[in-house]
């Protein structure tokens, strides 16, 4: 009998302890419902909206990096003292911490997407569909950015041999993935985007709607030189988001924070004080490094008065004044259309696309014909096209148009990379800094290479110096 009492007592103590110790902490949860998981996505969507630490769509600081520091649209040697904190050239960014920051941050977003996709049990509800669609899209966009920055230029027919990035599809702290083939990376991005498109999410709150996913799919096909697929999707995008005329264009481009015109996705839709400080800092510092003469010369003297883009891009002191635009807008698809036509051996259609675009930018525009095409600009450092062929005047025109249209939108560095990754140098403080071919592909984080057996570093990054 006594034993029974003791047993009962122990059972009582045991059970009451469990209840006693089961305190739900405040402001903290083990997520289970779609509503709870949506908080993870809102966190990243908020980063996009306010332009903070956002590598998947970009922000002003990232545009400074790609356009002002890495590209050739700005003149490093003329930097005024206030711009001393700007990197001189791509090579300055290749130290361990800055080159791998983007890599780590993108994988942190991928991790949250994986948690949503893997752990969220709720299914079929409107909210769960939207959250899943966002997670797929966001994951695809992150892998797309990784592909562009950390993988070499895709070479048609060699996707299986070329290296992609490590693919992580589920949340697992123990997994130590090595690099996949480029094909596998491309396939994952494609299937994720398609999965997201299938949810038919059109709720602008989630930013990565069906249209945005299609736009990214077009970008993926274009980057990987799948011209026919890219062409079809570009045209679809242009249908849903048509180009607009010069005045509307000017209004659109000068609307810094509000999404307008044919902008499909953009950062800074609701910035906060901390990001506005960063934005203002970027606006301030860009003034200290003038726009390069080579870029300005892309505009003929006549175009400098007639082309709406010239007036919004630079002022007379050669300072860039175009508001930072980080996102996606229709003109990109027009340019893609032109280039796809060109590579699909349809030069007339290609020229027509370019004329279309130019007519909306230049007042009293006189269309180019195959015979009146301008000759190639000898100052242009891109000498071959994406297929490795020597530039033709038409291809030169397309690239030139792209350079002007996409100025300060984080495009130029990847254009250089895509079109032959040319080597070039800049002068600074009496020294010559050369952007070498390997520098177009950023290094994987050194620690990852060190602790993951079999993980291959990109070529050119052979020695690790720790100080």
């Amino acid at each position: 009998m006594k034993k029974l009492y003791i047993c009962l007592l122990i059972a009582f103590i045991g059970s009451s302890c469990k209840g006693y110790l089961d305190i739900k902490p405040y402001g903290r949860t083990i997520p289970k419902t779609a509503e709870e998981f949506s908080a993870l996505m809102h966190k990243h969507l908020d980063e996009l909206d306010n332009g903070s630490s956002n590598y998947f769509v970009g922000n002003a600081q990232l545009l400074l990096q790609w356009d002002v520091e890495c590209g050739d649209d700005f003149e490093a040697c003329l930097t005024e003292p206030g711009g001393n904190t700007l990197a001189i050239y791509t090579g300055s960014l290749l130290n361990i911490s800055s080159a791998s920051a983007e890599y780590a941050q993108l994988y942190a977003v991928i991790r949250d997407c994986n948690i949503v996709l893997g752990e969220m049990k709720e299914d079929g509800t409107t909210l769960s569909n939207k959250v899943r669609a966002t997670a797929y899209a966001l994951r695809a966009v992150c892998y797309y950015q990784l592909l562009r920055t950390y993988c070499e230029v895709p070479e048609t027919g060699k996707f299986e041999e070329q290296l992609g990035v490590p693919l992580v599809k589920s949340f697992d702290m123990e997994e130590r993935p090595i690099r996949s083939s480029m094909q596998a990376t491309i396939d994952l991005i494609e299937s994720d985007l398609k999965a997201s498109i299938n949810y038919e999410c059109t709720d602008d709150l989630y930013r990565f709607t069906q249209d945005v996913c299609k736009g990214y799919l077009a970008r993926l096909y274009f980057w990987t030189k799948q011209w026919d697929k890219a062409l079809a999707l570009s045209q679809e995008m242009l249908k849903s988001h048509p180009l607009i005329d010069a005045d509307a264009y000017k209004t659109m481009m000068q609307s810094t924070f509000k999404i307008s015109g044919n902008q499909i996705i953009k950062a800074y839709r609701s910035y906060t004080s901390s990001t506005s400080t960063e934005y203002t800092a970027a606006v301030n510092i860009i003034k200290f490094r003038p726009v390069s003469k080579r870029f300005i010369n892309q505009f003929t003297s006549e175009e400098r008065t007639t082309d709406v883009r010239y007036s919004i891009d630079v002022n007379r002191k050669r300072q860039a004044i175009k508001p930072f635009f980080c996102g996606m807008r229709s003109a990109e698809f027009k340019l893609m259309e032109a280039e796809c036509y060109y590579h699909l051996s349809k030069p007339d259609e290609a020229l027509a696309s370019i004329n279309d675009l130019r007519s909306l930018r230049i007042s009293n525009y006189k269309e180019f014909t195959m015979n009146t095409l301008p000759s190639l600009n000898p100052d242009e450092i891109i000498k071959v096209d994406a297929e490795g062929k020597v530039l033709t005047p038409l291809m030169g025109l397309i690239l030139n148009e792209r350079r002007k249209e996409m100025f300060l939108e984080g495009d130029r560095f990847f254009e250089l990379k895509r079109n032959g990754s040319p080597e070039f140098w800049v002068a600074y403080n009496g020294r010559k800094y050369t952007t070498q071919k390997f520098m177009y592909t950023f290094p994987l984080p050194a620690t990852d290479v060190e602790i993951v057996p079999g993980l291959k570093q990109n070529p050119g990054y052979t020695e690790l110096v720790t100080n």
Partner: protein, 1104 residues
């Protein structure tokens, strides 16, 4: 204050009533007999002031100056004769007593009672390592808090001040640090209740780090040292295992005073202290020297470039004048010289300006007494500490009341009620005042001749003077005294606790002991940044990043927190002696404890201190706010207020058994398991335990013949486990909600993030502890020596390891590391002279702790925060300096024997020069005390020492070449080579340096302008700061005389006239001198921190 007076008044009423009630005791009748005796010592000398008490009654008298005493007592009552330093003598009187009563000298009582918080036992019956300090040992520093009073008094307990700020908590390590990322502080237990008075941390984007005063966040400072009866430190697992998972850092058990049977005892003590500058000073340049040095640098680095119209550096006020910067534009050479001469005419000693001599005081009043059925103890304490730094002070008010009752022979009841109120005030500075005092130029002045605040022209001027862009200073410039006058940070803490104890003797050998406690803590803090202050200028969210706005607005940040905590304990205690030889004591119990804390905070801009209201600024009129601006305005508003809540609960079961055989052999066993609410943990219950053996060798028959020499001898050994819970990591995937929301114009959405990589295999950190100790008492305990060796291995210590970026985390917490603490402790106490007039005793302790990281996966390649396998925590790796190279003028460093040099890059590679240089945690620590008394006069001296600690001097100048952005032409090897640090004040020896014309190698190395000429020095020598930091390394070994006090107690016969039972006076000096090689202010608190002040105190203590 009024409340306090009222309470005092009440107490005085209470005393008078009780005094009155005692007056009818001296009646004489048949049942009473006369006792008339002379109390003498062994030599036959009379003992004036010896007391006799009637046991169980509030009756007693004190002998006169001839040792005589007489009183009437009940027949058959028990008389207890006592005298300080003598053994008590009890005599049962059946007939009138007369003659001589001889009292024997007191031998140090062998069977010292020790309180572990769960049980009372005697030292001879324990196997654990514990040390006890009595009330007397805690009298060394009248104004200090309890933690600092422990400094240097117990072997193996390393107490180091973090700063000299009044009320600041010290850092305590008992037998080394045995966790890497967890909390290594010991557990404090007051009257059996573990302290849990945490106040939650506040975080918000608008609340700055210095906006809240968290000085009272751990609650130790609220204990009044005067209330303490004794302190027991439990050092090893055998002693501390009963505290389970919180005992890994050791346990400090405080027992407070309770009432004693007898007539009411009133005692009052007061103390007055003068706080003065610390004993050491920093050797800085005066105005003339600094100006001459700046001129020398101008001549060397700037003059020719300036003359040629090239880029030139501007350093110091001389640079600014010569270059015609700002208001010096257009001066002629003679005007410049005159300006410089004018500046040189005056030197400001910023330390003197900032430090003040202040007066602090404390008062303590207590009443105690009682009958054999109930006793009481009531105390009141006030302590007002004014800091060394102007406008810093700390006040404490305590009240404590305790009642113990014995309603019958089987039941004992006890109640304690404690209240304490603490207040701390200091300016809220965004520039550290000590850093400012170090670096502010001596020619700057605190005030203009008209008494207004003088702007500091140099402190923030380096960037602008050298052509870089900077946020402007407030229109009136920076002045540290304006900051002190216009900012304030006040914190008020009110703690109350109730403890109830119940002790029921169920049989003669079995008792139930229960304890319940409830505590309530309120903490309020106000932080005000006045409108004119620089702190307010730098905190203008509506004008951030604006270079043009001159708008100023102050702010107030307020927080109010409370903590409720409870502890419930019930235990059965069985003890018995069998057949004379076997003694057994078994304890079985369980307890629960928990705390709930909540903070509410808010911050208001545009605060008006006169009306207490605020006027929140908006965007300027012409700003034309967009929707985004409104959102960011709302975001600022959102972050201005909020709350923070945390809750803990623990449930524990424990068992302990002591077995003693023939008073010789002791075995003890302790087991405990703790469950906590640590979120999501599956391993909620963590068993810990220990086993110990002790051998009282002196009790052996064969030791009998050594008894005259060896009076006691015990050997102890114990083995045990304790645990440590690391609350910073979770085993499961836990999402934390952000404090902000994602907003759209119609709704807002919660945002969440996964802050820590989950680790399902996370466990408790375990300490395996082993020790062996030997205690020897010689010559009737006149000399006591204790030696101890211990070995403590921490396994499963939580550290972070690097995980590949593909996991989405950079690091993850794992139970991966192993840590070893090995050490030896030696304590010695000797009662050297003991005669009727003279008495001299000394004690000293020394401990050595070897800390070593046995297993550690570095989260990054290279050195990680001083953690390296095979070396102690906090180890310092750097270069070995070989002196200045005559040709290059820079420090050269010894190459590693395994270094290979084939390219210039190898010569610059830090890995080739890296050596282990020492540890920042001093391995050898100890303390000493000497007490000498002659008749009624006594002198006590005591102090502490610490050897083997190193520090990379972190008094880093707020300016350096990197303050000016630009492309570095010549890398700067070490801070000492940097030209730009000379913009602010430097130490006196800076001017003696290497130059190409005067290549001396016995001074400082060459000065280099990072933006000047390319010298290519990095082709010859390493320039990584990891190596070159070696030039900043300093030894922080010290030997400190912590206190000297002189006491005199007046003759009882004199004071009797004033109805006093005792009166003593004392004079104490604290922080008197330090022997050290350290160059800064105080080796105990290296760097630019609030130093320990030197204090002179006078005290009086009266007994009624």
């Amino acid at each position: 204050m009024n409340k306090l007076k009222f309470i005092l008044f009440l107490c005085v009423c209470f005393i008078s009533i009780s005094l009155f009630s005692q007056q009818n005791t001296g009646k004489k009748n048949d049942a009473m007999i006369l006792v008339k005796v002379v109390v003498v010592d062994k030599q036959g000398d009379p003992l004036p002031g010896a007391s006799v008490k009637v046991s169980g009654k509030a009756q007693g008298v004190i002998s006169d100056d001839k040792g005589r005493l007489s009183l009437w007592v009940d027949r058959n009552s028990l008389l207890v004769f006592s005298y300080i330093g003598m053994q008590q003598k009890s005599i049962k009187v059946t007939k009138p007593l007369s003659g001589v009563i001889t009292l024997e000298d007191n031998v140090v009582s062998l069977d010292q009672v020790v309180v572990t918080g769960y049980t009372r036992t005697t030292k001879r019956r324990t196997t654990g390592s514990l040390a006890t300090l009595s009330e007397k040992d805690l009298k060394t520093a009248p104004m200090a808090n309890i933690d600092m009073l422990l400094q240097g008094k117990i072997a193996g307990v390393d107490v180091k001040a973090i700063s000299g700020r009044p009320g600041e908590t010290a850092k305590i390590r008992i037998r080394g640090t045995n966790t890497i990322t967890g909390n290594a502080e010991p557990l404090w237990v007051v009257d059996g209740v573990p302290l849990q008075r945490d106040i939650p941390k506040i975080s918000s984007s608008q609340i700055l780090a210095n906006n809240f005063n968290d000085i009272f966040s751990n609650g130790i400072a609220g204990i009044n040292p005067n209330d303490i009866e004794n302190v027991t430190v439990l050092k090893d697992a055998s002693a501390a295992a009963i505290y389970g998972s919180r005992a890994a850092g050791g346990v400090i058990v405080i027992t407070t005073k309770r009432g004693k049977e007898g007539k009411m005892n009133i005692s009052y003590s007061a103390n007055m202290s003068i706080v003065t500058s610390p004993p050491h000073n920093a050797d800085l340049m005066n105005s003339k020297e600094k100006l001459a040095w700046e001129q020398e640098l101008w001549n060397e680095f700037s003059q020719s470039h300036y003359a040629n119209g090239e880029k030139y550096p501007v350093v110091g006020i001389v640079g600014m004048i010569r270059a015609g910067y700002g208001k010096y534009r257009g001066m002629t050479g003679t005007q410049q010289d005159a300006e410089i001469a004018n500046l040189g005419a005056h030197t400001t000693d910023w330390f003197k300006e900032l430090f003040q001599n202040s007066i602090s005081q404390s008062h303590y009043l207590s009443f105690s007494g009682g009958s054999n059925r109930s006793t009481y103890y009531v105390s009141l304490g006030v302590s007002q500490n004014n800091g060394l730094v102007k406008k810093t002070n700390y006040d404490r008010y305590n009240m404590s009341a305790k009642i113990d009752m014995k309603p019958n022979d089987r039941v004992k009841l006890g109640f304690s009620f404690d209240m304490s109120m603490q207040k701390s005030t200091s300016p809220s500075l965004n520039v550290d005042p000590f850093q400012y005092a170090y670096f502010a130029n001596p020619y700057e002045r605190p005030f203009n001749s008209d008494g207004s605040y003088a702007a500091d022209n140099t402190y923030f001027a380096l960037r602008m003077a050298n052509g870089a862009y900077d946020l402007p200073q407030p229109p009136s410039g920076y002045n540290i005294f304006r900051e002190m006058d216009t900012t304030s940070s006040k914190s008020k803490n009110f703690t109350s606790s109730v403890i109830g104890n119940l002790d029921i003797r169920m049989t003669d050998n079995l008792s139930f002991e229960g304890m319940a406690s409830y505590g309530y803590v309120v903490n309020n803090s106000d932080n005000i940044n006045g409108k004119e202050s620089n702190a307010a200028w730098n905190d203008r969210p509506f004008d951030s990043g604006s270079f043009t706005s001159k708008r100023t607005y102050g702010s107030i940040a307020q927080a109010s927190s409370y903590n409720t905590n409870y502890n419930l304990r019930g235990q059965l205690h069985y003890f018995n002696t069998f057949k004379n030889d076997h003694y057994i004591s078994v304890l079985l119990g369980s307890e629960i404890r928990g705390q709930y804390t909540k903070s509410i905070y808010e911050k208001r801009y545009g605060y008006d201190p006169v009306s207490g209201n605020s006027s929140m600024p908006t965007y300027p009129e012409n700003a034309n706010p967009s929707y985004s601006d409104l959102l960011s305005y709302a975001a600022i508003m959102d972050a201005l207020s909020g709350q923070s809540i945390s809750e803990d609960a623990f449930a524990s079961f424990y068992f302990s058994m002591d077995y003693v055989f023939k008073q010789r052999y002791v075995a003890s066993l302790t087991m405990r398991t703790d469950g906590s609410n640590n979120f999501g943990s599956k391993e909620q219950f963590n068993p810990t335990g220990s086993f110990g053996l002790s051998w009282n060798i002196d009790q052996e028959p064969f030791m009998k013949k050594f008894k005259p020499i060896i009076s006691s001898m015990s050997m102890r050994t114990a083995f045990g486990y304790t645990g440590n819970i690391n609350k910073s990591v979770y085993p499961q995937l836990v999402m934390d909600y952000e404090s902000t929301f994602r907003k759209t114009d119609i709704d807002y959405y919660r945002m969440g993030s996964i802050r820590n990589a989950p680790n399902p295999r996370l466990r408790w950190e375990k300490n395996r502890d082993m020790k062996v100790s030997l205690d020897i008492g010689l010559f009737n305990e006149r000399i006591h020596v204790q030696g101890e060796l211990y070995d403590r291995r921490t396994s499963d210590a939580v550290t972070t390891i690097t995980v590949p970026s593909t996991t989405g985390f950079s690091s993850q917490s794992y139970n991966t590391s192993e840590l070893l603490n090995q050490g030896a402790e030696l304590s010695l106490s000797a009662h050297i002279i003991k005669s009727s007039n003279w008495d001299l005793s000394m004690s000293a302790n020394l401990s050595y702790n070897r800390n070593k990281l046995l297993k550690f996966n570095s989260p990054s390649s290279g050195l990680y925060a001083g953690n390296y396998v095979g070396y102690p925590l906090g180890s310092i790796f750097s270069g070995k300096m070989m002196g200045i190279d005559r040709k290059l003028g820079i420090y050269t460093y010894q190459a590693r024997p395994d270094a290979v040099f084939s390219t210039p890059a190898d010569r610059n590679n830090a890995d080739n020069y890296l050596f282990y240089l020492g540890t920042s945690t001093a391995p050898t620590n100890g303390g000493y005390s000497i007490n000498l008394s002659y008749k009624r006069l006594s002198i006590n001296m005591g102090g502490s020492y610490s050897f083997g600690g190193k520090v990379l001097e972190d008094v880093s100048s707020p300016v350096s070449y990197s303050s000016i952005s630009g492309t570095v032409v010549e890398p700067i090897p070490a801070r000492i080579n940097d030209l730009y640090v000379n913009h602010l004040n430097v130490s006196r020896n800076a001017s003696k340096h290497w130059t190409p014309d005067n290549p001396i190698t016995n001074g400082n190395p060459r000065i280099i302008d990072a933006y000047g000429e390319y010298l290519g020095l990095s082709n010859y020598m390493v320039s990584s700061s990891v190596i070159t930091n070696a030039s900043m390394m300093q030894s922080v070994s010290y030997f400190k005389l912590g206190s000297i006090s002189l006491g005199y107690s007046l003759k009882e016969s004199w004071i009797k006239k004033f109805c006093l039972s005792s009166l003593s006076l004392s004079v104490t000096m604290n922080n008197i001198f330090i022997l050290t090689n350290y160059k800064g202010l105080d080796p105990e608190t290296p760097g630019a921190v609030y130093p320990m002040a030197r204090t002179y105190s006078m005290g009086i203590s009266i007994g009624f």
